[in-house]
Symmetry: C2
């Protein structure tokens, strides 16, 4: 399923904002180059698109979410670079190209990842946003990043709560590793779009948070399934690596059919969460369908 | 030279604030444990002490700088963890103990470092500070972190401007790698202490910035000298490693005597920078002497 035009409409502005953000980090050139390699690599920009369209669903126009869009994509790019490192998932291929440590060396990959994480917070504190919004967005970004790192620890190094069933352990990993940053993207977008005098602001914010939780889980369950079924040529990265690494995945624990049912459940829950913002959430509903049906 | 009591007076409060900050990051336990291993390791706490005393010099009481103190030490701790990694400086020993990747594995060291960096921004955006101060401090922390990472790239991976003399290349590395975060510490402390109605606020801020620049350079030049002359037992880390790694150091380029003259020059410049805040800068002057004469 190709993405509907309304969904991708902000994409060129998001790409330009990403490019500008790197140009502002021009020193030293080899560091900026490595950061650009990671940040500007072809990608679906799922998180910035979620932020932009959550901003619209909250009553905003969209462009006021651009600093948040860039900040979230910086954190996402940083996490990919560090996750691909030899001591972590040890991946050579990402988005169809050599991973950063293969292309520029491991030291540069560590440092460029660090720089992208710091830069995410720089994007939110450069004077374009009100102090209140800058602090609120930074807080959300921190929470999303913290959850994501916790998920990576669960996924890579264990220490999961024993009393959880195997499936709930997978859900906990997914909710942290992928869900936390996707939820943050939705909440950050919402914060950018909400008007202070909107009497329904709290309800809208809660609805978009719930939406983010379901979409985040769904995204990762679909990812698990694609890892099992896609070819590396199609996915642009090594596949079946979860299996090889002994990682807990949804289909690994529950089988393919139950995984498809879980995706359907999460899709319905995401749609239902949008109820309170019904009128403004048309594109977010399209986004759910696109992510549920994606094949890479 | 042991540190004067007035200088170390805030130390127990800083240590308690560091401990509390880790306790607040309790999940998952193995991640929090790794973060604590790095953040709570015995250290001089130079950067938090600079922030606290710069706050006092700017007219504050001191304790209002604690969120900034913790944030800066988090960034410092993160940078040590990542710098020690095999792909970077490959150090086994830090502050007299095994480095984090030796003690907890490389994947955990990468992730705990990332988490400490994110947490630094979390400390500044958890609602204890006004939005204006939270954003201003986050901005300074970002600038300091960006400079530090740039310095690490210069130091480890080169790409220094060709037209600079060897000594100016060393100065550029020092000003970024060490100076940027120390300057940020002084500026952040000053921001915490300044009163908005102080007519001399801009001058005070500028003075403490200048002070930070000189102290930061001095700190690193002293470090270079100690790396050359101290024993590992005394320093708590591998020494003469700059030489072994072929790194550009001040004594390596200019010799020991010229290095001692440089330290004296930077010490005088730091003292002179404090002129506008003379009356409130007694402890910062003691701090300069302590750092100039330190033997570890």
């Amino acid at each position: 399923m190709s993405a509907p035009a309304s969904l991708l409409e902000p994409l060129s502005r998001i790409e330009r904002a990403l490019e500008r953000s790197i140009t502002a980090q021009a020193t030293p050139a080899n560091l900026a180059d490595a950061m650009a390699y990671a940040l500007l690599a072809p990608g679906k920009r799922v998180r910035p698109l979620l932020a932009w369209h959550a901003c619209v669903a909250a009553g905003g126009a969209g462009p006021e979410s651009l600093p948040a869009c860039v900040a979230i994509e910086c954190v996402h790019a940083f996490s990919l670079v560090h996750d691909d490192l030899p001591a972590m998932d040890d991946d050579d291929l990402r988005r169809g190209r050599p991973t950063l440590h293969i292309a520029r060396g491991e030291a540069m990959a560590i440092l460029a990842g660090d720089a992208l994480l710091a830069m995410a917070f720089g994007e939110l504190t450069d004077g374009r946003l009100s102090p209140e919004l800058g602090v609120a967005l930074s807080r959300e970004l921190f929470e999303g990043t913290r959850g994501m790192i916790a998920g990576q620890v669960f996924d890579t190094l264990g220490d999961l709560p024993d009393q959880l069933s195997a499936l709930d352990q997978v859900r906990l990993i997914h909710a942290s590793k992928t869900g936390a940053l996707i939820t943050a993207a939705c909440r950050m977008g919402a914060l950018c779009g909400l008007r202070r005098d909107d009497p329904g602001a709290a309800q809208t914010f809660e609805a978009l948070t719930e939406f983010g939780r379901h979409v985040g889980l769904m995204f990762q369950v679909v990812d698990d399934l694609l890892d099992l079924t896609a070819t590396p040529e199609h996915a642009g990265k090594r596949t079946r690596k979860d299996d090889a690494a002994g990682k807990r995945t949804f289909p690994g624990v529950a089988g393919v059919e139950e995984t498809q049912r879980e995706i359907a459940r999460l899709r319905s829950a995401a749609v239902a969460a949008l109820e309170p913002v019904q009128a403004r959430a048309g594109v977010l509903r399209e986004l759910i369908e696109w992510l549920a049906a994606r094949t890479k």
